[in-house]
Subunit: 204 residues, 2 copies
DNA sequence: GTCTATAACTCGATAGAC
DNA sequence: GTCTATCGAGTTATAGAC
């Protein structure tokens, strides 16, 4: 390690740069030259540290996936009541994605292009992580707290309402004729509005 | 035109092939060779007819956008009541996208990457197409039929619930542990479930 | 209009000096 | 570890015969 004192190491700077470029451009669109420029070094160094573009991408992708999904899944697996879970999930998701707004479309894209790889990386040997959530929904139905709902539909609705705004942000700003600041306000409101919307839709 | 009788013209076959490949792979991922193979001709013809990959992509992209958005926007602009509009939009959207399931993620991606181009191509000089829809929502609020809602939030919710399932299909199948046939069933159910969900959420 | 051949270029990857 | 220079594969694009 030649790096003097306070500077981030070259490796760290490469990882940060690669994450930024890959998130924005996707695997196919990203250029090693762009990553090198962003990191303030040259292409040769990328290969010195990570051998190939594939390997570098793989590192970034699994890092992002791992830092992101588990925390959210935990909420669904928790022992809170359904309404609390929904409130927690929505708030947590919006807060997280405000930090990394390109992440949702990036993940969806790469999963679309290579579902098999995603299965291996993300799921490993685990069973689908939503079983417990489905059961808790059915329990609340039996208790008479919410209407009879298909748990898969409800999960899909929750995910749609949380994730889609980040995926569709540029399109929506254009179609609805609003600017970035207004959209930020809308996102902030959604922390309260979306749980309210969902609960109104399913409560008896 | 050398083409004999019944066969589609070369130009048409190129356009159909390009649409298919671009939809699946995106601009960065698509190869001219793949398009040529799909069309059953060689690469040179692509350039003979459309000069460059950029120009061909541009043609496909604006064609897809134009054939797609306006029909849906029309529903929002119609004179039906709000609940009817929602029911029509959801059904129409799901029917359409079952034909072209790759379209939503394709459009969202390319709009994300080049918002300016999308603005020019799609919007031209028109004003945002949702003003009338927003006003009709506010009218229904005044009439006391629905709760007070932010129209932008409601539109975003409707779009989320319709579009997201197509964008997230592979991911959801994995996370929820379901197969393609089950997902098709879910989509079919959504034609009724989503309007019910929305209306339950906003009606007084 | 259509094809083959190939030029021109982009980009990931490597060699080798320091 | 870092750089410059360059290679080689893969792609877009063009030339030219038919």
């Amino acid at each position: 390690m030649v790096n003097k004192s306070k500077d981030r190491s070259t490796e760290e700077r490469i990882l940060a740069a690669a994450e930024k470029i890959f998130l924005k451009e996707g695997m196919a669109g990203a250029r090693m030259q762009d990553i090198a420029d962003e990191a303030g070094i040259n292409k040769a160094m990328l290969h010195y540290y990570f051998r190939s573009k594939d390997k570098l991408f793989e590192k970034i992708f699994s890092g992002l996936s791992r830092s992101f999904f588990p925390k959210l899944i935990l909420i669904f697996e928790s022992d809170e009541g359904l309404f609390t879970k929904i409130q927690m999930f929505v708030t947590e998701y919006i807060n997280q994605m405000k930090q990394t707004p390109y992440l949702p479309i990036f993940v969806l894209n790469e999963v679309n292009r290579q579902p098999e790889i995603f299965i291996k990386k993300m799921m490993g040997n685990r069973r689908p992580p939503v079983n417990k959530f489905f059961m808790s929904i059915e329990a609340e139905v039996k208790k008479g707290i919410i209407k009879p709902v298909n748990p898969a539909q409800l999960l899909l609705n929750i995910l749609s309402l949380c994730i889609f705004p980040f995926v569709a942000r540029p399109m929506f700003e254009i179609v609805a004729g609003i600017d970035k600041k207004m959209f930020d306000t809308i996102l902030e409101q959604r922390k309260k509005e979306v749980p309210k919307f969902i609960i109104d839709a399913i409560k008896k």
